[in-house]
Amino acid sequence: MSRDEVLVLDPIGCAGHGLCAELLPEWITLDEWGYPILRPEAIPPELLPHARRAVAACPKLALRLRALSAS
């Protein structure tokens, strides 16, 4: 059974490279200073591989996928 996952950002770690927004434009946009704005909802299954790629590509390890608890 797959669990719902959301993207979470460490705002201190993030350096605003914007790489994540290039890899997952459906879910991540950049504000006018170049920092990512993430959609808060659970990632749809078809986007999950792209989300994983964005997480892996972040040079600051500032982006994570977090499983939503069942409750």
Partner: protein, 414 residues
């Protein structure tokens, strides 16, 4: 119900000795305060109004699940320039604060208490250090520490990081201090006023505590009344009190131009909103405000609210730790634009820019500093729309040249 409770016996302004303290309040009973605290419904007085009993439970639970004994951190940093209640409390009745810390420590199984006070609050530091030496044995080991005078000194994760030898900058949550705090131990962080109430609940119980305040927010509360008022200072009040009674000013004609409720992460209320308003949480919530840590700052008719707003925004931008992109970029952008608005040289589209920037910084930092700053600015722009338009037409007003009413540096002497 009689007030004061917390400040009972402290009218002459000096610290109560331990003997005097016991004479006023009676001895601190032994026994677990948890049940009484839950029934009392006490909420934290440091700003977030979190139920204190639940915080104790959370720290006790993580401590029970791990290997580390928990600790208590008394957060008396009070970095907000217009706030004076924690310093007053610690300087006058240090034993009541320590009683609360001791009762809370016993309830969660902690043996160590750290009391953090601002370096500039020498009266509170002296009183607290003397009190620690006076206390009878059997309580926790208490350390009193002076911390820098800065807004972020009171943000719990920044305070913990600083006390552990790091920079005075917030950390990301989770983990919360209840999970991993001082020296990686589960840490109960409470405001001094919160703990002073705990010291009284331990003595008099929940029913007595609820004789003051409202059902949603029981107990008395300390407010720091500041700005254009006849008698600024720290007052212990019941939240059913009307704001007009507290300020000693009518709500309409001859009354304040605006009142800032909740200090520098608070909300500006204009004359229309002040009529009949009490300090009850429900009443304030109807205007998007909370009492937060109890700062009530009044702007009289002779002050310029636009200039004051720009000054405070500048101070808040300078207090940012600069760690998070939206906060580090957004706060200076907002402050610079507000200064331009006050000077009457703001570019067109400034209202839209300020609206967008305040939204963009909200909820996107590691700590809540930008959220509070956004609330302050948005409520100010709403309350001061006529003055903003006036400045756009004519530039700085006569009142712009008056010394600011809202403090943007901390008081050093008492």
């Amino acid at each position: 119900m009689t007030l004061p409770r917390l400040l009972l016996g402290t009218q002459d302004g000096r610290a109560l000795t331990h003997a005097e303290h016991v004479g006023v309040h009676g001895p601190l009973p032994a026994g677990d305060v948890s049940a009484a605290l839950a029934a009392a419904g006490l909420r934290g007085r440091g700003g977030a109004a979190f139920p204190t009993a639940r915080k104790l439970q959370a720290v006790a639970a993580t401590a029970a699940a791990g290997r580390h004994r928990p600790v208590v951190l008394v957060n008396g940093a009070e970095g907000e320039p217009m706030s004076a209640k924690d310093r007053t409390l610690c300087a006058r009745t240090p034993h009541l604060v320590l009683d609360g810390a001791q009762a809370a420590a016993a309830a969660i199984g902690a043996r160590r208490v750290t009391v953090a006070l601002p370096r500039a609050a020498t009266d509170a530091l002296d009183a607290m250090r003397t009190a620690v030496h006076e206390r009878p044995g059997g309580g926790p080991a208490i350390t009193v520490t002076a911390v820098p005078v800065a807004y972020l000194a009171g943000e719990e994760s920044a305070l913990i990081r600083h006390l552990d030898g790091g920079p005075l900058k917030p950390t990301v949550v989770p983990p919360r201090p209840a999970e991993r705090g001082l020296g990686r131990r589960p840490t109960l962080v409470q405001n001094p006023e919160t703990l002073a109430h705990v010291g009284l609940v331990a003595r008099h119980g929940a029913a007595w505590f609820r004789e003051a305040g409202t059902a949603a927010d029981p107990g008395s509360v300390l407010v720091s009344l500041a700005g254009d008022v006849v008698a600024p200072g720290v007052y212990e009040v019941d939240r059913r009190m009307r704001l007009a009674e507290l300020t000693g000013m009518p709500a309409g004609r001859g009354g304040p131009r605006a009142v800032l409720v909740g200090g520098y992460h608070g909300t500006w209320l204009g004359p229309d909103e002040l009529a009949g308003l009490t300090l009850a949480a429900e009443d304030l919530a109807a205007h998007g405000a909370t009492l937060a840590a109890g700062v009530i700052a009044v702007l009289g008719p002779k002050s310029c609210p636009v200039r004051e707003l720009a000054n405070v925004a500048g101070w808040l931008a300078a207090q940012s730790a600069g760690q998070c992109g939206p906060c580090a970029n957004g706060l200076p952008a907002i402050a610079t634009r507000l200064a331009a608005v006050a000077d009457g040289r703001a570019p067109s589209g400034s209202a839209a820019d300020l609206d967008r920037w305040t939204r963009l910084i909200t909820g996107r930092g590691a700590c809540h500093l930008p959220d509070g700053a956004a609330r302050l600015v948005r409520s100010g722009l709403r309350a001061f729309a006529p003055e903003v338009a006036e400045h756009a037409r004519r530039g700085p007003c006569a009142a712009c040249r008056r010394p600011p009413v809202l403090r943007v540096a901390s008081r050093v002497a008492a």
